[in-house]
Amino acid sequence: MAARPPVVVVLPALLVAGLAALAWALVSGEARADWSSLLAALGGSASFDATVIRELRLPRAVAAYAGGGLLAVAGALMQVLLRNPLADPYVLGVSGGAAVGALGALSIGLSTVVADAAAFTGALAAMLLVFGLARGDGSWTQTRLLLTGVIVAAGCGAVVTLMLSMAHDARVHSMLFWLMGDASAAGRPWPALGLLALAVLACLPLARDLNVLARGDLGARALGVAVDRLRVAIYVLASLLTATAVTMIGTVGFVGLIVPHLVRLAIGNDQRVLLPASALAGGALLVLADTAARLVLSPLQLPVGVLTALIGVPVFLFLLARHYR
């Protein structure tokens, strides 16, 4: 009974929860839609309500879903890679690099499309920088990787602060919203959703290797796991997922840290279930948070990162208290 967690229950349940969250996101907002207009919109109706749902809410909800899933999977991978339960997708500086790129573009008034490209470039540059520095002398320890990442992230943070303090007042607001995480500007979320599905599929054959790796490098090597290759693979994969998510919805916090822990507390630490479950749960959580961010102070829209923290923290503390009684 211990070897096979209740995959057949957990994964479909999370998928259904995600779909329900998406449906709620599509019907909620200033112009409230009912379920029949939702079906009409998805069926291709040309009415005003249907267009709002299809052209505005659907891309945003899908961006939130894909972004949440990407961040949760990246966080779960980083936690195994660094064998540190406090690791999140941003700990190694990928988001810092993205922020430097995006804010650099925004501060000189470039369009959001250019800012997206700059964010992705910045994220990859940070990834390569940390990778190169951490591997410099051939050693590749968790501590060295973590310290290198933290320092690069701190450097990026300083550059971001510098750019904010020097930026034109009119541009600071858009820069701040980007930093706090915002799904409203995401135009083309479908490739990210595809990447999420591909990433989870790519992880599955490696998942038992990750289970072994989580219990120590040396033991994993003795059990026949190609540890160095595996760690490079998950580092690059987690960085790409984070870069994609951050480019699309900004640096939304907490999802990547908390969702893997929530899933772990609920179903255990078997990566074969943890990774797909994190993808589904992260997507569902971020759609809920983004919809709530649109609704609670409507017509004012909050950055979704604030809501993820407000939802995630109490749920996490509750589960933690229950688990370690």
Binding site: A3, R221, L223
Partner: protein, 262 residues
């Protein structure tokens, strides 16, 4: 075995082995042959290279010079996975930052036996439960490893090793955290595995237990010198005193050799 049979290849064999670490030679020109059924104890002072030797014998680090053969083949001639079905390593320190159940921890030993796309089956779970039972913690099977004591965790790690079902066990301080009763139980367990055809190499700190449970011994002196051979020949008071830098006397109690620091 009838007299006409060729002698099988030794389980583990090293020739002209030299270890280099931290800017110095830990040992040079070490030769050893371990047959199935034998126990070998590795002794030496702190920093003399016991762990380095064990990792090298496990194929996890390249020797400075020399050859190592496991069942007649060098480590490069087998895949890491095939190697993992033949030899198991108990690391000195058990890192445990994530929670998992005791049975899941024991099942980790099945990793090299289960296909990439497969899940552990009924047989694997039975093997893991049997391994837990052999170290006396089957009743903890569904506890979280993080809630266990150091000695219990050490026994979980040993159970994972048993579940791996290798021909050769390489143990780095297997008695860590264990109290007297379990020290003897664990050593008797590995002795029994050796009787059933396994080979055991163990880094030990306790000279008396090494003298009692090992057939062969390797004594590193921390200055690049090494002695290898039958345990009763290597474990002599003068040689031990030279390696450990403290005089010892040998006595016999109840038929067992006992070494007491002077």
């Amino acid at each position: 075995m009838t007299p006409g049979d060729p002698k099988p290849a030794p389980l583990l064999e090293a020739e002209a082995l030299a270890l280099f670490a931290g800017g110095r030679w830990l040992c040079t020109d070490l030769a050893l042959r371990l047959q199935a059924g034998e126990c070998l104890a590795v002794l030496g002072p702190n920093g003399s290279g016991k762990t380095t030797l064990l990792h090298t014998l496990a194929g996890l680090r390249d020797p400075g010079a020399g050859l190592i053969r496991l069942q007649g083949c060098g480590y490069r001639e087998r895949s890491p996975r095939a190697t993992a079905r033949l030899r198991a390593l108990l690391p000195q320190i058990q890192p445990e930052q994530f929670s998992c159940s005791v049975i899941e921890a024991a099942l980790v030993g099945r990793h090299p036996h289960v296909g990439r796309w497969a899940w552990e089956g009924r047989a694997d779970i039975d093997i893991a439960h049997a391994a837990l039972a052999r170290v006396g913690i089957d009743r903890l099977a569904h506890r979280d490893v993080l809630s266990l004591s150091g000695g219990e965790r050490q026994r979980v790690a040993i159970a994972a090793l048993l579940a791996q079902q290798p021909a050769l066990y390489l143990l780095d301080e297997p008695l860590n955290h264990l109290d007297l009763r379990f020290q003897i139980q664990i050593l008797e367990l590995f002795r029994a595995l050796a009787r059933d055809g396994a080979g055991v190499v163990m880094v030990l700190h306790d000279i008396n237990l090494a003298a009692r449970f090992a057939d062969q011994a390797i004594l590193l002196d921390g200055r690049g010198g090494v002695l290898a051979g039958l345990a009763r020949e290597v474990l002599q008071p003068g040689r031990l005193a030279d390696a450990f830098g403290h005089p010892l006397i040998r006595a016999e109690v109840d038929g067992h050799a006992v070494f007491v620091p002077r």
